[in-house]
Symmetry: C2
Subunit: 258 residues, 2 copies
């Protein structure tokens, strides 16, 4: 117990066996958009994808792995993850969130290596640029389903990816992270598509009305207006122009009892 070691022991923690490394691994999600060929304008098809890197060397040479790297003494783990995200993608902003710790003995054949998983939400072009710079053999962008069920993943990265997928689904419904996958102003159909892409069994027939006209949910979104107060519309995805919305900074508190 920390509090009951004698002073000698506390000074010399190195007398114990200590870990061989503390990496941060990052699940980088992105939402890709593919135009559908249709008679008129239509919403693109979305896919939730994850970036993986093919390992070159032992262990798990040839398998796909989450990008990541070891933490240094001078930085917190969040800073490690930020740094790795920057190194991998070139961007130093965007949503980055802690996921959890993976410490099962034997998870890494190189030694006692405790990994911290993060997940990031990055824009499509970022990962595509990264992929273009390298070989498609080296960097891959896969749908979550492919990555989970069709690829050989290194270490316990399948478990990490599974946890990350569960977490992003939860967050998509309970927070406003959807904004990470949308431009500042967006239509309600776009928002609905984003939610459905991440959480396929999310279904709301009266989505538009529920968002716009129920008092208890007012405050999550607000209409986008020009400086003169004129409502902003978009006909990017439809013939009929649609009202644009933006997120406020309000997130309601959820409860199973209310």
């Amino acid at each position: 117990m920390t509090s009951e070691l004698d002073p000698k022991q506390q000074y010399d923690a190195k007398k114990y066996r200590t870990p061989d490394g503390i990496p941060a691994d990052i699940v980088m999600f992105t939402l890709t958009r593919q135009e559908r060929r249709a008679a008129t304008k239509s919403l693109p098809r979305f896919d939730l994808k994850v970036m993986l890197i093919r390992r070159k060397s032992w262990p798990f040479a040839g398998a796909w792995a989450l990008p990541g790297g070891f933490s240094q003494e001078s930085e917190s783990l969040y800073e490690t993850a930020r740094r790795e995200l920057k190194e991998e993608t070139g961007v130093d902003e965007g949503h980055l969130e802690y996921l959890g710790v993976y410490s099962t003995p034997g998870r890494d054949p190189r030694g006692w290596i405790i990994s911290h998983a993060f997940f990031a939400l990055v824009e499509e072009w970022v990962l595509e640029k990264r992929q273009a710079a390298d070989d498609a053999q080296t960097v891959g962008l896969f749908t979550v389903q492919e990555a989970l069920h069709e690829l050989e993943l290194a270490f316990d990265h399948r478990e990490i990816l599974q946890d990350a997928y569960r977490k992003i689904q939860e967050q998509m419904l309970q927070t406003t992270i959807a904004k990470q996958f949308l431009p500042e102003h967006f239509t309600l159909s776009e928002l609905y598509q984003v939610i459905q892409t991440v959480v396929p069994d999310f279904a709301e027939l009266n989505f538009i009305r529920k968002i716009t006209s129920t008092r208890s949910r007012q405050g999550i979104l607000e209409e986008a207006r020009s400086e003169e107060g004129v409502p902003l519309l978009s006909n990017q995805y439809s013939q009929r122009p649609a009202q644009l919305y933006k997120f406020t900074d309000f997130t309601p508190r959820l409860s199973i009892y209310t």
Copy 2:
């Protein structure tokens, strides 16, 4: 990047500086009950308390700290936390959940020490027994408010406690952890008191009716019945017997959009 180290480097991770220790610290919550003196039977007053240990030696000698201890190579961090919980309280079951990692450089003057916080929900008698075995000078049971605002806490344990408090409040509303603070069968007033103790600004005037007679929430609770199907009642806290309930294993999915 993990995947781009050459084989030599990967074999000898020890050539890098590695952490001096990876402890698990545990925020042990309990709910204490104090009978109120009243003319007739009445509900007890509840308090959410946390167990702290007074440090004997450098660093932070004399300050209060979360119980915890260093992880070993042969165990996962969850197992470390379980083991510490057992060592501190004598019980090897009960709710134990991961909270997060604390790795700000300099957080521990002893060296590069990355701490993993857990929180546990234990029964009142467990901590009282522990406290009786030691000195009140050594082991303390404080309300969260006291611990956060009136005590000198070691390391970054105030931040950890603050995070744990936020998390338990969220969990209390969004999951069924309330069951950890209740007997198997309980009255709705008891449940309401438990929720309110952890989340003081939770207020529902029609709590009983909302829980029992709204279809969308059916499934969280069910009436406790004897084997013959007779509803079980309790008059422990009231003259008029109250229906007993128990949790099912169902937890609804929450969403800000529905």
